[in-house]
């Protein structure tokens, strides 16, 4: 038998102290009473992360949180929500914030937070366009259509110095201008929602929590560059994002914010969704275009860049979800306002996702220029279990490796490259000092091995060799020559790989070989893993 709904009750020592066990009992009793026993299952779960109100109850797959849920309110939740399908807003976490809220490192905005792109996520019902409209939704689109020429829109975005949030940090205004100036009747706007960089889930939160902001921004981009059609390429792993987008597109069409002659203007714009099929490399913009074109997602030779020759060979603007989410506020509040946030060379906010061995997992939106120390020790609540910090991987495996000596570097697109690192997607993966460096680097290597598209040899073979050698080292079969070979491989891949995937793949390896040289040498010289994890894992493997 299969249950249509699961009710998850957080059961930790602290939530038990708040009466979680009684709430669970009451839920089971009430569910049985209304005859839903065969359809709804109550489950105990571990901690939901951050310091959340208790007892904490989540209804799956509706993704509704009731917290704190008291025993006397259980009957209402069961009768209204589970039986009649009506969400009981006033009992929800913070009076109706969505499940999404629990993915914030803190459920409520902190003093350090500035929410621009997450202005609505968790605060509105994403499936109701009127909630979005009530918070100035589609005002920016109305403004550009009635008061601004396309050139003026581009000028505002250029002046704001908004840098692309997909990882590369390219100025968005310039990209729009190139596309605007490119020859051709047909042009396209593409939203990159392939978010595959491990440790990143900001785009999902925006799509699920505020899908209209992306549609509005795409329409503005379409008006600016002269496109009538937009595509959102969403990864297959995000079914909920796709559902919310589909509903948002339907409602926006109904209200006349998408479609023919928007708001009575001459401008028409449609948005379609294309679903990915599980390939990280399709996040690379030209591979993404290939994929929309129904082909294998292998990157193209650049130049020509998409603004010249993009989707079906037509001029195309490709922007990341977070980049687009910044557009409506910039139009409404102006470039000077935007530049007042963050640093002079890298204005605005950044959404960081705290992952790995940190106390408060989740995401947080803060001004550019914040330091890792603030992010991990103040907002993140420090390293889990009181352990020491070994490293922080910024921007996922393709980004950069930050060691504890770099905790005070301001996090911006322009400063991190000076430390051989990168801001990338804003993912922060904290690794504590109980982990073995060979094991961690191997985990990055396995990712690239799995995700290499196989088009070019340095990436296809290089990543395989890297993982094989690291495997040998962790089994105690490594030599000093192996370390030299890793360096050699890494440097060659950086220089010769065809696309950004293969070029970035050796970055964590090279940086760690340098900074954690001693630990690597202990592995190959003394055949000992100081952290003790290598032996443990190979033991488990042999008894499997």
């Amino acid at each position: 038998m299969f249950y249509r709904t699961h009710v998850l009750v957080e059961m930790t020592s602290s939530s038990v102290a708040f009466g979680a066990a009684q709430v669970k009992e009451a839920l089971e009793r009430e569910i049985e009473r209304v005859g839903l026993k065969n359809e709804v299952k109550v489950l105990e779960t571990g901690s939901f992360g951050a310091s959340l109100p208790s007892p904490f109850v989540v209804i799956y797959p509706d993704n509704v949180i009731y917290a704190p849920l008291r025993v006397q309110d259980v009957r209402r939740v069961v009768e209204e929500h589970l039986l009649k399908g009506r969400v009981v807003r006033e009992l929800m976490l913070a009076g109706g914030l969505e499940w999404k809220t629990s993915e914030f490192a803190f459920p409520f905005p902190l003093a350090k937070e500035t929410r621009v792109v997450l202005r609505n996520s968790g605060f509105i019902d994403p499936l109701n366009i009127e909630d979005y409209i009530a918070r100035d939704g589609y005002m920016a689109l109305a403004k550009v259509l009635t008061e601004m020429t396309p050139q003026e829109v581009i000028e505002v975005i250029k002046r704001s110095n908004l840098l692309g949030r997909g990882g590369a940090g390219f100025p968005t205004g310039l990209k729009w201008e190139f596309t605007y100036k490119a020859e051709g009747q047909e042009k396209y706007v593409v939203c990159n929602a392939d978010e595959g960089e491990p440790g990143t889930f900001k785009d999902r939160l925006i799509l699920e929590g505020d899908p209209h902001s992306i549609l509005e921004a795409m329409a503005i981009a379409g008006y600016a560059v002269g496109a009538r059609e937009g595509y959102i390429y969403v990864r297959a792993e995000y079914p909920q994002s796709i559902r919310h987008l589909e509903e948002a597109i339907r409602q926006a069409g109904e209200y006349g914010f998408l479609g023919e002659n928007i708001l009575g203007s001459q401008f028409s714009f449609w948005v379609k969704i294309r679903k990915g099929a599980g390939a990280y490399v399709c996040g690379e913009e030209t591979a993404l275009l290939e994929s929309i074109e129904g082909k294998r997602g292998e990157p193209r030779v650049k130049p020509p860049y998409p603004p010249q020759k993009g989707l079906w060979g037509k001029p195309t603007v490709i922007n990341n979800v977070e980049t687009l989410a910044n557009i409506p506020p910039i139009i409404l509040r102006g470039p000077e306002w935007f530049k007042s946030i963050g640093t002079p060379t890298c204005p605005g906010t950044k959404v960081f996702t705290l992952t790995g061995n940190v106390n408060n997992l989740g995401l947080i939106e803060v001004p550019m220029g914040i330091t890792l120390r603030e992010l991990i020790f103040e907002i993140g609540g420090g390293v889990r279990g009181g352990h020491g910090l070994k490293l922080v991987q910024t921007g996922g495996p393709s980004g950069g490796t930050m060691t504890p000596d770099l905790l005070d570097v301001p996090m911006t697109f322009d400063t991190l490259p000076k430390y051989n690192s990168a801001l990338g997607s804003g993912a922060l993966t904290v690794v504590d000092d109980t982990h073995c460096i060979v094991d961690v680097v191997k985990s990055f290597g396995e990712f690239f091995l799995h995700e290499s598209c196989g088009k070019c040899t340095p990436c296809r073979i290089g990543n395989k060799r890297i993982v094989e050698i690291l495997e040998k080292i962790s089994e105690g079969k490594g030599t000093l020559d192996h370390l030299e070979e890793l360096l050699h491989l890494g440097r060659n891949m950086k220089m010769t790989a065809f696309c950004g995937l293969g070029q970035a793949a050796p970055n964590p390896l090279l940086r760690c070989l340098e900074f954690f040289r001693e630990e690597f040498e202990t592995h190959v010289k003394e055949k000992v893993c100081p952290a003790g994890t290598c032996q443990l894992k190979s033991l488990q493997r042999t008894v499997r």
């Binding site: 489950l43 799956y60 889930f201 390939a279 082909k295 079906w312 705290l354």
Partner: protein, 154 residues
């Protein structure tokens, strides 16, 4: 293959007739219906869509969500990217292997489960995580794995 299956495939292709280059959309929807993409189906799609069958096969084998071999009713994809890895994904995978008696890439004899590893599912805030078909589960440990599997075993 039965007549009716071919008709269903034709309907799917027809549905995307207006779209430009809908090959991926078609493959996705066909796979949703039949759980995987057998060779003869790929050949049929190629013929009907007027695309070389080498292209169709190339696309079907490029993307990890397309299965060209039979898979179980429930495909379990365990994330093993670094954020999950440092939060104990290795143990979760071990637990799943133990509980299901399967290795990575294998399907159970009763055709119920297929075990696969995958890259980041984008829910690292509740790491370690896995997906069963299109439902995501986080905060996994041995016990949660057992509980969740029990739901699918009934």
């Amino acid at each position: 293959m039965e007549e009716s299956l071919y008709r269903e495939i034709e309907e799917i292709i027809e549905k995307y007739r207006e779209e430009e280059t809908p090959l991926l959309c078609v493959l996705q929807e066909v796979q949703e219906k039949f759980h995987y993409l057998p060779r003869n189906v790929l050949g049929y799609i190629a013929k009907k869509m007027n695309v070389p069958s080498s292209t169709v096969y190339g696309v079907a084998t490029f993307y990890s969500f397309f299965e060209t071999n039979p898979v179980g009713e429930y495909v379990i994809r365990v994330c093993k990217s670094t954020p999950c890895h440092v939060q104990g994904a290795f143990n979760v995978l071990q637990a799943l292997k133990r509980e299901l008696g399967l290795k990575e890439g294998e399907t159970s004899k009763d055709g119920k489960f297929t075990l696969e590893v995958t890259s980041c599912l984008g829910v690292c805030g509740v790491a370690p995580a896995m997906m069963i078909n299109d439902v995501t589960y986080g905060n996994l440990n041995d016990e949660r794995v057992r509980e969740i599997l029990a739901l699918y075993r009934r």
